[in-house]
Point group: C2
Chain length 208, copies 2
DNA sequence: GTCTATATAAGGATAGAC
DNA sequence: GTCTATCCTTATATAGAC
């Protein structure tokens, strides 16, 4: 997974340019829809030159996904079992929504892959990904059992948070087609909405 | 939009077989990733024979999308302004989740298209689609202003319902990778979770 | 390291026999 | 209506000069 880093500055710069261009192209067109021509022209290099840095189109895609997956699960990783349950989950929602705002291309890269059955994800989902979700779901379950959280299925809670937050990146054209925002203001409205929805859903019933 | 229906039984049968095969292939691989070879072999016809019924790959895709879009928005269309606000919205959530369970290929067909920027959707989104959403958002806003619903942004409420329900179709491999259900039982858990979340979020604060 | 030229394969679409 | 054979474009990847 961790290749030897390239030696010269030029190599680093070109590799980075290729990966940035590839993120743009793969996230917009999917793996199959993306062409090396598009990646080459977006990176400012010639097509054979791109293939000098990466052996194949698939290798570029792998390098992208491999480099991003850790970033992608970081918000869930940061869910603190020692924090206040409702506030911790609301903060998680906030981090995920911020990622949709700041890294929409990465979100669509993953979405493209998963919608199409994750043919290039190998054991990532059932491996460390599932392990992290299981761990955090157990934390949420314990919170609920201690009466500090309205008892909700922790797995479906996590799914709903992924769905609602990633929606603003993955279905961006639909959201913008309906709201017609000038810039990113609608993310602030989304943040308020999601905070209100999840606060109401998560706050445990008052035992009095 | 409404082509003349084919005349003979054989034509109807073959057209239907092609559209069903195309739904399977387009939803799994996206427009670009799908090939006429795959569609032909899945429909049991030869490639030229497929092109006898439809003039091009794009025409097959158009016929599919055009035929499905009305079905797709029906659940929102059925939201009744004269019903009980909370129950109406919960019923809408239920209808959308049922569609993800029963029509996952259709959901992924749309998801593929929208994630990639809806290049073949034309004015559907900003046209009648947006008009319907605007209409129903106004209904929800009125309910909230009458104090019959916890005041939440109606647009983001609708987005969240789309996101949470379609997630079970669009991200099916991820959901199954984490839950490892034998069949569709997890949809019942999802239904219970979403009902609880939205009931808590939508019920207006008791004015006493 | 980067380019031009090209090999090779896949895929959309058509021609024409039956 | 359906098939075989084929055209032609696009796209991945490589060869080899510079």
């Amino acid at each position: 997974m961790a290749d030897d880093p390239p030696r010269t500055r030029i190599q680093q710069k070109n590799r980075a340019a290729i990966l940035d261009a590839a993120l743009e192209v793969f996230s917009q067109h999917g793996f199959r829809g993306a062409t090396l021509d598009q990646i080459a022209s977006a990176s400012g290099l010639s097509k054979p030159n791109v293939l000098y840095y990466f052996p194949s189109k698939e290798a570029i895609h792998e390098a992208l996904v491999g480099g991003l997956i850790d970033t992608w699960v970081q918000p869930l990783h940061d869910l603190d079992p020692n924090g206040d349950p409702v506030e911790e989950i609301l903060a998680y929602v906030g981090r995920k929504l911020a990622m949709s705002r700041e890294m929409p291309r990465e979100s669509r890269l993953f979405a493209n892959e998963i919608v199409q059955g994750a043919p290039r994800f190998g054991t990532e989902i059932t491996g460390r990904f599932k392990a992290l979700v299981d761990e955090k779901a157990a934390v949420i379950r314990d919170w609920a059992e201690a009466g500090r959280l309205n008892p909700l299925d922790p797995y479906h809670l996590i799914f709903s948070i992924w769905a609602t937050t990633q929606h603003y990146a993955d279905f961006d054209v639909q959201v913008r087609g309906i709201l017609a925002p000038k810039g990113d203001e609608h993310f602030d409205d989304a943040a308020r909405f999601l905070a209100a929805l999840y606060r109401a859903g998560l706050t445990p019933p008052d035992p009095r």
